[in-house]
């Protein structure tokens, strides 16, 4: 729906009236985006039901009897504009960024924020001017500096709003430079925050690499992604709150987030720098193009997580085979999304003991990527079926290969042929973290061009 509304808004800005078509249940999101894009009057016609859950005769009947007549009506003058009937999802008025919006005890503040959709459902820390000022003391940047504009709400992401939401989430003041870097990642156009409310329900994962892991007490060991260490937990919570409050992505009743089932925020993942150094492998921040002395935040989408991947055996190859099976199960036919949209960046979190076993066998990060690139395979028919079911009804693997859009490894017409899940194995991220006393790894499946990994260096503490 966001892309449809952006297309409709572009037409309207060019002076051509538009009508948008969406599935039932997407009106709220469409209207919210229409408001944000300055086109609240664009009519939205909804298909009654779920397009891909209807058989073809039902689909055609609904189109003929309901959708097409409504579209034709909406194209001509006198059609009901949606502008007057829209509920204002956020009765926020126009407060100044420095305004105090409520005074009261903890319950009153929490109720006020909850009633306006400004919380994630958990209790909050009141963002008092004093607490916000304490956060802002950890940066030299102007509180009004605009880091970017976050869609779909089209709100400015400022240094101050980062501090306010950092307080809300329970962060410490010294976390602010990390939070600023996260907000910059979210605001980077490459990240496509405007699609963070898409139906797959992907969730941003924050990855920290560098000295900041130690200085701010992030957990990179046992339970690395378990709620329990304040730095990991509060920074992860901040990320989801910032998407909610500044990007404007909310589950019902506001319903601007269409994640069908979705998941909760991820605790921030911290890299085990000592384990990396012991192996002589480049840390994740160097993989991302930064220096060894830098502290770096990376944010990327995660649409699902693998089962725990236990690996063992006499050789590095034994570990590689186990990693391949675990990642193949996790990614499965979702790999079509990378082939359809041209980007795919899964992340493999490798247990330090597994990494050590691989290194002893002469396997480094590039060798892991090469092995997975060669051995992560899926049938063409599984990709094709998954694509149709998700909604990519024009996806045609054979045609993409025949046209040269996909290379010769994808060529053919046999639906049972095996093709690589990873078009570019070099885009696989690898981070060392987790229990050093076990042989476990995990795979994190990314969501194609939505939530492509974006990294920022964390400014030094003031």
């Amino acid at each position: 729906m966001p892309a449809v509304m952006r297309a409709a808004a572009t037409a309207e800005r060019a002076g051509v009236p538009a009508v948008a078509i969406g599935g039932a249940g997407f009106e709220g999101m469409g209207r919210a985006i229409g408001r944000s894009l300055g086109v609240p009057h664009v009519p939205i016609v909804s298909y009654p039901g779920v397009i891909l859950a209807d058989d073809t005769p039902t689909f055609r009947t609904k189109m003929r009897d309901q959708v097409a007549p409504a579209v034709v009506d909406a194209l001509v003058a006198g059609s009901a504009s949606t502008a007057e009937t829209l509920p204002d999802a956020l009765p926020d008025g126009l407060p100044s960024p420095t305004d105090v919006v409520v005074r009261g005890d903890l319950d009153a503040v929490t109720e006020h924020f909850e009633a306006r959709g400004w919380t994630d459902g958990l209790p909050i820390v009141p963002p008092t001017p004093e607490r916000v000022a304490a956060f802002l003391a950890h940066t030299r940047r102007d509180p009004d500096e605009v880091l970017g504009v976050l869609a779909p709400d089209q709100r400015q992401a400022t240094v101050r709003s980062v501090a306010v939401n950092g307080v809300l989430a329970g962060c410490r003041p010294e976390h602010l430079p990390v939070l600023l870097a996260i907000a910059e990642c979210l605001a980077d156009p490459v990240f496509r925050v405007q699609d963070a409310g898409s139906t797959p329900g992907w969730e941003p994962l924050v990855v920290l690499s560098g000295p900041v892991v130690g200085t701010l007490d992030f957990n990179s060991g046992t339970g690395a992604l378990r709620v329990g260490r304040r730095a990991n937990t509060a920074v992860g919570r901040f990320t989801r709150l910032y998407l909610r409050n500044v990007a404007g992505l909310r589950i019902p009743p506001e319903h601007t987030d269409q994640g069908a089932i979705a998941g909760s925020f991820h605790v921030a993942l911290a890299e085990n720098d000592e384990a990396v150094a012991r192996l002589g492998w480049p840390p994740f921040r160097e993989d991302r193009g930064f220096g060894a002395a830098d502290s770096v935040v990376t944010v990327q989408s995660v649409v699902t997580v693998s089962a725990p991947i236990y690996s063992g055996g006499e050789t590095a190859r034994d570990h590689l085979d186990a990693l391949t099976r675990g990642m193949a199960d996790a990614i499965g036919p979702w790999a079509y999304t990378g082939l359809e949209f041209g980007a795919f960046h899964p992340l493999l979190v490798v247990g330090p003991a597994v990494a050590a076993a691989l290194a002893r066998g002469g396997v480094d990060k590039d060798a892991i990527r090469a092995h997975l690139g060669e051995h992560l395979l899926v049938t063409a028919s599984a990709l094709q079926t998954c694509a149709w079911n998700v909604g990519s009804t024009s996806f045609d693997l054979d045609a993409k290969a025949a046209s040269g859009e996909l290379d010769e490894r994808y060529a053919g017409t046999d639906p049972d042929r095996l093709v690589p899940m990873l078009q570019r194995p070099g885009d696989l991220g690898i981070v060392l973290a987790g229990n050093e006393s076990r042989n476990q790894s995990r795979g994190f499946v990314q969501n194609h061009v939505q939530g492509v990994p974006v990294s920022r260096r964390i400014e030094e503490q003031t």
Partner: protein, 104 residues
Amino acid sequence: MEPTYEAMWPLGPKVADDVAEQERPDRLAGVRVAYLWDELFRGPEMFEVISDVARERHGDVEFVGWEEFGNFHASAAEERKVLDALPELLRSHRVDLVVAAVGA
């Protein structure tokens, strides 16, 4: 007695400019309607039915196919390219109205 807190606004100013509502024709006869498609959810089948119903009700309606404009639901770079080119393409095809689909 519980302390009293003053809490600051966690959102931020919106920056979008409103676009004036465009005038629509009273009838579709003689009008050119463009389809924009994100290559999702059976769009061409939808467009075929819409075209049929529009012609039954309004007579001579012209349609410009989605292929003329490209897929606006792709990579960030591709979407930008498609949308940047859209105003000129709408002009060159003398488009009066747009149907953008399919959001779900």
